[in-house]
């Protein structure tokens, strides 16, 4: 079974600074997808960024980028120029196609990020 680990329960960063959130996963699959979701105080889960495992190029979305290390099974999220609105819980997630599920999603426990003014 796949597992997703986020070793940092809480982090803080000063506004305008850069912060990196860690995520590692365990799988024997070769084809899969990885995601970062953001959950602000409103508790709406928002997709931040996704990465296909077969792509070597790291995904980027504006101020958000990932460092995907497939051999190390690591998928960290870098937030540049942090803004107060980035304060949220961040979840790392793994997905593979599954004959029963369609898509089998596994979520990490989350990292609570606080952006300080």
């Amino acid at each position: 079974a796949q597992t997703v680990t986020q070793s940092q329960p809480e982090m803080s960063v000063q506004e305008a600074e850069t912060v990196t959130l860690s995520c590692t996963y365990d799988t024997s699959e070769n084809n899969y997808y990885l995601f970062w979701y953001k959950q602000p105080p409103s508790r709406q889960m928002i997709l931040v960024i996704r990465q296909e495992a077969y792509k070597q190029q790291n995904a980027t979305e504006n101020r958000f980028s990932v460092n995907f290390q497939k051999a190390a099974k690591s998928f960290s999220l870098k937030i540049s120029d942090s803004q107060l609105g980035d304060t949220a819980m961040y979840f790392c997630a793994f997905m593979k196609r599954d004959g029963n599920y369609g898509q089998n999603f596994v979520f990490g426990p989350g990292t609570r990020l606080s952006v300080l003014p």
């Binding site: 997808y33 508790r43 709406q44 928002i46 819980m89 979840f91 997905m95 599920y101 999603f105 979520f107």
Partner: protein, 114 residues
């Protein structure tokens, strides 16, 4: 574009009362649908998933049940609520959006059982 709705947004129910939470998806057909529960400050616990009408799989034994009467409708129910059923319930759909497979979440329902 795809949209996912959940209602009610907030619900306060006494112990032993029934429950019905509804989730509907627009803008896609034959989505995979999921019910998650999230305790305060915690991660997501997958409760049920469905790959088609009438096809429900349960991940955690409990007093909750789920049904999918229509392609884009997913309902979470209970005959008698327990205090431990309190939490934040998220519905999600997964499939291909903008050429990419991913999972999108509804706004959630806050349930407080007293």
């Amino acid at each position: 574009s795809q949209t996912i709705h959940q209602w009610p947004a907030t619900l306060v129910q006494p112990v032993g009362s029934p429950l019905s939470l509804e989730c509907t998806v627009e803008g896609t057909s034959n989505p995979n649908l999921y019910w998650y529960r999230q305790a305060a400050g915690r991660g997501l616990q997958l409760l049920f998933y469905s790959v088609g009408i009438g096809q429900i799989s349960s991940e955690v034994p409990q007093n909750l049940s789920a049904s999918r009467p229509q392609d884009r409708q997913f309902i979470l129910s209970s005959k008698k609520l327990l205090l431990s059923d309190s939490g934040f319930y998220l519905c999600a759909w997964s499939g291909v959006a903008r050429g990419q497979e991913t999972q999108y979440f509804g706004p959630g329902t806050r349930l407080l059982v007293l």
